[in-house]
Amino acid sequence: MRIVLLLTLFCGCMVHAAPADTQCDQALCWQVQPVVCIANQTADRCQLDFQLSWQHPQPISVCAALAGESLHCWQQQTSGQLLYQAQLDGPSQLNLMVDGKPRLTRQLSVLSRQPERKRRLVAPWSVF
């Protein structure tokens, strides 16, 4: 009996679950992957190849913008896809714009494998 209940719950979840990375604002939904860029060091510029796709039941005009800069626009379509190679200096906001206003927003993050190392500006043992 308990197994049947668990199976029912599991199947229910499978049916109703949207993709984990889907974001919606009313009927406008989008997915962006990946959203994290891994750099060698914190000071390094990071190249992120991300994929964006959006859907809407009725034809709509939308634009994708990264850090305020327009990347691509779709005119009167129900869905769209974009592959983009971004050069990130740090965390940046990716927006899906409708009529010039952001409707959906994702943060693109930069993580580093190693902490930044820099040269010392004062000689070691300079108290000598």
Partner: protein, 295 residues
Amino acid sequence: MMLRAWFLLVLGLMMAQSAHADCASSDTAAPCVTTGELQASIAVGAGFRSNPLNGGHNFPLWLMPDVSYYAKHWFFDNATLGYSWQLSPDLQLSLVSRLNEEHGYFRRSSPSNLLESNYIADIGLAGPVQRVSAKEELSIAEVDKRPLALDGGLQLNWFLPALQLKFNWWHDISQQYDGQHLRLAASSGWHSRLGYWQLGVALAWKDQHLMDTYYGLSAHEGDGVEYAARASWQPEISLQWQYPLSDRWQLLSLWRYRWLNTDVMMPNSAERQQSPLLQESSVNSWFVGFSYRFL
């Protein structure tokens, strides 16, 4: 002769091939730091910095700290506080501030001289103690107290493949001597089977206000005769040797020789002489010991 030797050394350093690496590799011996982490080392050993003043004690060096913390822009490095901008991958400009080191010769408990020990100085382990002052000379005990000044200024670091150049402009922001001084330093390091070596040369220029505040004599101090100090060019040469014993321990040896050129104008004449406050015209410093890296 001395300036010519200094010039030749600079030339030699500029042509030297070195093993200086950039900071991308964490095991490089080049002076690098990890941002956001406190780095602290301490050296224990023997050495001293000579005091060129009449009646001054040499400064014993038996315990030396090396502490630095670098954020993205702010940094604290061995009593220098700064804010830096990276102008290019090899060029850094910084606003800097620190205590002026001139005061340290005049007062043994100066904050700018943290490494002294009265006990060691008194028993003479720190090298010869200059106690004698001739009649025509003045001991620091007989002159007025010299001020402790806080300097602020600009620093430009230029990291070349075989050479590091550093230029400093310092100005008295505490209005104690109302002057300024400049310093140009060049250093080059290289690895050998005997450890890591670093040879450095520097040339400092100290203006008349600074020199007169510390090395000139008022009429009151000079028995009615006033001695006005002149601006000074001060070359120096240094050599550093490090030999790693383990991840945290290393052998450390430091040596530096600085020429002072502390001339004062003779009263009622155009002739110059060394300031009556000085017994030596140079400062010699050395240290040999072990260093331990805490962090």
